[in-house]
């Protein structure tokens, strides 16, 4: 994970010219798929992801139904061509874990009690990957759920922070992720400062963690505004 010999910060700037607290460019398109009940295309720098929502629909197998609420399912899947070295198709351990964490990131905002015995399926496909795909996926999924008309208390926004060359920075790109010292993907309900997903690997001190959390909170506010704007634009067209 940690490799030596690459300078990630020069003259106070990152290799792609960003400041420490700067997000990569974000592009959001709502309702990009015809068959899905809701969908969203999301770009974060060189990450390109697309999310689709189906449901609520009858859940099969029936024994897996919940009599009191809908069951949320989330599938994170990488296209084989999305990374430098071809990824073998199908779920691996990484994607199983990401799917679980992402599902839990969204569950707090979805009012599942409205649709007992049903399932809501969220499918996220990573078309191009450049570090931060799980956060991009959660952002896309959150918008796609809203686009599908699923009753939600709020939107979920997500971003990663990390540590490179000893500095806590926002939204690592692939080079920074490969050569950096720590990576911490976070999802939150931005307007309530409520964290719905948090993972960390690498190594950081408690102070660095606090600093990273603050960076992520600010960034999630920005992402939330972009998500909201994208949804409003989509529906004011109609």
């Amino acid at each position: 994970m940690k490799e030596e010999g690459i300078e990630l910060i020069k003259d106070g700037k990152r290799l792609d010219g960003r400041g420490f607290d700067e997000l990569r460019p974000i592009k959001i398109e709502v309702g990009v798929l015809k068959r899905a009940d809701g969908s969203c295309y999301f770009e974060l720098g060189d990450n390109k992801v697309i999310a689709a929502v189906y449901g609520p629909r009858e859940m099969h197998p029936r024994h897996a139904q919940d009599a009191k609420m809908a069951v949320l399912k989330y599938r994170y899947n990488m296209a084989p061509f999305s990374v430098d070295e071809r990824k073998r198709p199908g779920p691996d351990r990484r994607s199983v874990e990401i799917s679980k964490v992402s599902r839990e990131a969204l569950e707090p905002v979805i009012i599942k009690e409205f649709y007992p015995k049903t399932e809501i399926d969220v499918y996220v496909e990573i078309l191009q990957s450049d570090a931060g795909t799980r956060t991009a996926g959660i952002n896309a999924a959150s918008v796609a759920l809203a686009d599908a008309g699923i009753p939600m208390k709020d939107l979920v926004s997500s971003v990663a922070v990390g540590k490179i060359d000893g500095e806590v920075v926002l939204d690592l790109n692939a080079v920074e992720d490969n050569y950096g010292e720590a990576d911490m993907p976070i999802a939150m309900i931005a307007r309530r400062n409520t964290i719905t997903a948090l993972q960390m690997d690498g190594r950081m001190t408690k102070d660095e963690f606090e600093k990273g959390l603050k960076l992520a909170m600010n960034a999630c506010q920005q992402i939330y505004e972009l998500q909201r704007t994208a949804l409003i634009e989509r529906y004011s067209e109609m």
């Binding site: 351990r93 309530r192 964290i195 993972q199 190594r203 959390l213």
Partner: protein
């Protein structure tokens, strides 16, 4: 259906206890159950440990085998962590391929060990680009009464503490039965939020009653080397910070007592 009702009853019971400042087994909110760590109990494994936290019991075995390095790190050994939730350990566990819970358990434990750089992977190189030691950390859950993560993580690091290289068995002379020194001792501390209170080391019922939780893995110098949030509800930012602080503190206690 019957089970679901039992779950609801139990959830209410635990919740109401916590509201009155109590826990089912009489512990304080920040107390662990009784912990037992026995090292080196499997002769066939290069490192092993059995950890009991209350009724939760986890056996961790570490095997070393020569194998190929990853192309992007030709001079470094490899760690592979796996967890099996065997049906013997709980009525809820079923035989079959790993599910998301066992994958998560393995990956969280793995993350802590990797992040802390407890094992110096460059010491595990046999022949650059050709042959390195692969460290298989296998977590075998024997009894699930909650908080598998802390038990498994403690078991993993305890196993690594008495790890020997089986060089002779693989005809790799010169190495002998050399010990692999550890550079750090990461310890996982899991906490849940029930009714706004933070409970350390949730037992099975508390895990069921909780809507969110956090594992914090920290090192000897107090740095954090892994985290994972669980559950279907969010955690307020202040709560997360509080848990991180508590996690680091508790990890230090466990490290001094058991490693």
């Amino acid at each position: 259906m019957g089970l679901e009702i039992m779950d609801d009853v139990r959830r209410d019971y635990i919740y109401n206890l916590v509201r009155r400042g109590k826990r089912e087994d009489g512990r304080g909110f920040q107390d662990y159950r009784e912990i037992k760590v026995e090292k080196g109990i499997i002769k066939k494994a290069e490192g092993s440990a059995r950890v009991k936290i209350g009724n939760t019991e986890v056996l961790v075995g570490v095997k070393l085998e020569p194998g190929e390095p990853f192309p992007d790190s030709p001079d470094k050994g490899v760690i592979i962590t796996n967890a099996e939730l065997v049906p013997l350990a709980s009525p809820e566990f079923e035989p079959g391929p790993p599910n998301e819970d066992s994958v998560q358990l393995a990956r969280v434990v793995d993350r802590g060990i990797r992040g802390s750089e407890a094992i110096d992977l460059s010491k595990l190189c046999i022949e650059e680009g050709e042959k390195v030691w692969i460290v298989f950390i296998d977590i075998h859950v024997l009894d699930n009464d909650g908080n598998l993560v802390d038990a498994a993580a403690l078991g993993a690091i305890a196993s690594l503490l008495n790890l020997r290289m089986p060089a002779e068995r693989y005809g790799l002379s010169g190495e002998g039965e050399e010990m692999i020194p550890l550079q750090d001792k990461p310890v996982a501390v899991t906490m849940v939020d029930i009714g706004g209170e933070i409970l350390v080391d949730p037992n099975y019922n508390e895990e069921k009653a909780a809507v969110s939780g956090l594992t914090v893995i920290s090192n000897t110098d107090g740095t954090i080397s892994g985290m994972q949030k669980y559950g279907r509800e969010g955690l307020k930012e202040e709560k997360v910070s509080e848990m991180v602080e508590m996690g680091i503190e508790k990890a230090d206690e466990l490290r001094q007592r058991f490693l």
